[in-house]
């Protein structure tokens, strides 16, 4: 990676989050670089999704700072927070589509709210985003209840991309998809990142996704980030959880699949 890419777009410092007396994160530091795909992994209950919620303003931390685009998010006025919120897109685990609206209307909702576009232009843009995430054109007029799990996730991604965000947050993008659907989704994320210059913050359990998409991997354990770096580096860590995670049968299977598929490491971007 070149020097210009080293710029941190998200900086989390000394983060502490808790629910009542239960501390989820303590003194957690994390830097996300511009134009990278960062995968966040960790066992169940280590607070991967909570970390994402802390960064996007849904779970105010009890200590520490979250800096996004160089600004301390929780210290900003509501108006400034709103301006920042328009520069990121979030895809929730189940898609979190508004059930009373069609897919196209879901994608148009943030445009209508923030950009004050004429309906015809918003509809054109929604159609483009829907096609971009790989949904057929007739999906636009469908209601979320008529979509399969994979389609809901794609529609959720289309809505996350509605405002041409700089950062996209993905919560378990491939959970609940069949292997073929998951692989297609991985490809989609990589291609969108390249063509739109996105920074992707991805919470995932899926080792294959990790191998296929992520530039760097952050491992959450013991209430903080215990390792961060390119996958091959992180894998060599001595931490018992990391060893168990990557050296277990599933970890090895995913890894060998990648090595078979990609051939040489030169394939890496």
């Amino acid at each position: 990676m070149s020097g210009a890419d080293e710029e941190a777009i998200i900086e989390v410092e000394g983060l502490r989050t808790q629910f009542g007396d239960v501390v989820i994160h303590d003194n957690l530091d994390l830097r996300v670089r511009r134009n990278e795909i960062l995968g966040v992994v960790g066992g169940s209950g280590t607070g991967k999704s909570v970390l994402m919620r802390a960064i996007i303003g849904l779970k105010p931390p009890s200590a520490g700072t979250v800096r996004i685009f160089g600004e301390d998010f929780y210290a900003l006025s509501v108006r400034h927070q709103l301006a920042i919120e328009q520069r990121w897109g979030v895809m929730f685990q189940g898609g979190a589509l508004f059930s009373a609206m069609t897919v196209a209307q879901n994608v148009m909702a943030p445009m209508r709210e923030h950009l004050k576009l004429p309906d015809a232009l918003a509809a054109d843009m929604a159609a483009m985003k829907i096609s971009m995430v790989g949904l057929p054109a007739d999906a636009g007029a469908k209601f979320p209840s008529e979509l399969s799990g994979g389609m809901s996730k794609r529609a959720g991604l289309a809505r996350a991309l509605a405002l041409d965000p700089e950062i996209v947050f993905l919560d378990e993008p491939t959970a609940g998809l069949d292997p073929i659907g998951a692989e297609n989704f991985d490809r989609l994320i990589v291609s969108l990142k390249r063509s739109l210059g996105l920074t992707v913050f991805m919470v995932t359990h899926d080792l294959d996704t990790l191998h296929a998409t992520c530039d760097r991997v952050a491992v959450l354990a013991e209430k903080r980030v215990i390792a961060i770096g390119p996958l091959d580096e992180v894998r060599r860590s001595d931490h018992p959880w990391i060893k168990a995670y990557f050296a277990g049968p599933r970890g090895r299977a995913a890894l060998s699949a990648r090595d078979d598929g990609a051939g040489a490491p030169a394939e890496k971007v």
Binding site: M111, M132, A141, D164
Partner: protein, 376 residues
């Protein structure tokens, strides 16, 4: 940041559009209409879009360029976009295949036809619902018969829990409502009866209306709203989480474990609630009679005993278990009918209250005719 702008120049039959500023979604709203007009006007012309002056470009801007180009290139092949930086060209190339039309809403159908269609559907569904509820009543009675033959199958803990939840816990609200209705009836009655100098008949008015109808109806309405809906929500949530399927797979009969205890609990508690509601309603009426009119409590009670036949009290009480049965069965039936989403749960809960009130009032009308015929 500079808003998106453009200049048009027509020379030698070639239309040249020079774009400047930031072609981003937030700026495009202002010029979109003009651009669409341009697309219509550019018929038969060659269009060259010069984007060398464009600052920032996002997918929306790229899409608009592509749309313009496409509107013209359908007519002449030579139309093109020129002068873009490498990044801009790459973005336009990425967006181009995705500039497709797409419907925003499902196609609207003829409204009159839809109305007739819905009416027909409603009637057919109503018929099916009636049959299914009868079927469900049969299942409940069959489960009841099994339990009668093998009393150890009776889930006593569950029954007592529901008796407390649906019965004891409902007492304050039902008591208060009934007390106030009794007072209101006495008040309104007194006002009109005073015109005929017959204020003393307020006693009969309150006695008959509260004992015969209001006590039991109020109890039924509040229980349907409070417990019928709770039955639907609880069973519906279990249905969504596949708990009902798990029960069936484990050989547990959901009707016996879930429906029967709720039904029995409600049948046992409804007469108690009705009794309480009737008494408090009469007390409410008596209180108004004592304070707003000159009818002393002793006189009120005396006249009540003289003029109101005990049958009025029994009529109210006899109806209670029937209403309880209807409310419990419909509440549980709607819970069992929940499918899939939480949206369906909400719909079924509403339906449960509406249907049980509907049936309760119809039953009440039948009871009224029945007791009239037998002169009770």
């Amino acid at each position: 940041m500079q808003p998106a702008a453009y200049t048009i120049d027509l020379s030698e039959g070639i239309l040249r559009l020079k774009a400047t500023g930031d072609w981003q979604a937030r700026h495009l709203g202002a010029i979109d209409r003009d651009l669409r007009d341009l697309e219509d006007d550019a018929i038969g012309r060659e269009l060259i879009i010069d984007i060398s002056g464009v600052g920032r470009l996002d997918t929306a801007g790229a899409m608009v360029f592509e749309r313009l180009l496409r509107a013209c290139s359908r007519r002449t092949e030579a139309s093109k976009i020129v002068g873009g930086s490498k990044e801009h060209q790459a973005l336009i190339a990425h967006v181009a295949p995705h500039v497709l039309p797409c419907d925003v809403e499902p196609a609207r159908r003829n409204a009159a036809l839809l109305m007739v269609n819905r009416l027909g559907q409603g009637i057919v569904e109503g018929y099916h619902t009636a049959i299914e509820i009868l079927n469900f009543i049969g299942l409940t009675l069959a489960a009841f018969w099994r339990v009668v033959r093998e009393p150890q199958r009776l889930r006593l803990t569950s029954i007592f829990w529901h008796m407390e939840e649906a019965g004891i816990n409902a007492m304050p609200i039902i008591g208060l409502m009934s007390f106030m209705i009794g007072a209101v009836v006495a008040f309104m009655g007194a006002k009109i009866l005073r015109l005929f100098n017959a204020e003393v008949f307020t006693v009969e008015l309150v006695g008959i209306s509260v004992l015969r109808e209001f006590g039991v109806l109020l109890a039924a309405i509040l229980v349907a709203g409070r417990s019928g809906s709770a039955f639907t929500a609880a069973i519906g949530a279990m249905k969504i989480r596949e708990e009902i399927d798990a029960m069936r797979a484990l050989g547990l009969d959901p009707v016996e474990t879930l429906v029967l205890p709720r039904t029995i609990a409600l049948i046992l508690m409804m007469p108690v609630l009705t009794f309480m509601a009737s008494i408090l309603g009469v007390i409410g009426g008596g209180l108004v009679a004592a304070t707003a009119m000159e009818i002393s409590p002793a006189f009120f009670v005396g006249r009540l005993q003289e003029t109101i036949a005990l049958s009025n009290f029994w009529v109210g009480l006899i109806k209670a278990p029937f209403f309880a049965f209807v409310i419990a069965v419909i509440g549980c039936y709607q819970g069992m009918e929940v499918a899939g989403s939480s949206e369906s749960l909400g719909q079924r809960t509403t339906l449960s209250v509406v249907q049980s009130l509907f049936v309760v009032i119809i039953l009440d009308a039948f009871f009224a005719m029945f007791f009239l015929e037998i002169d009770f």
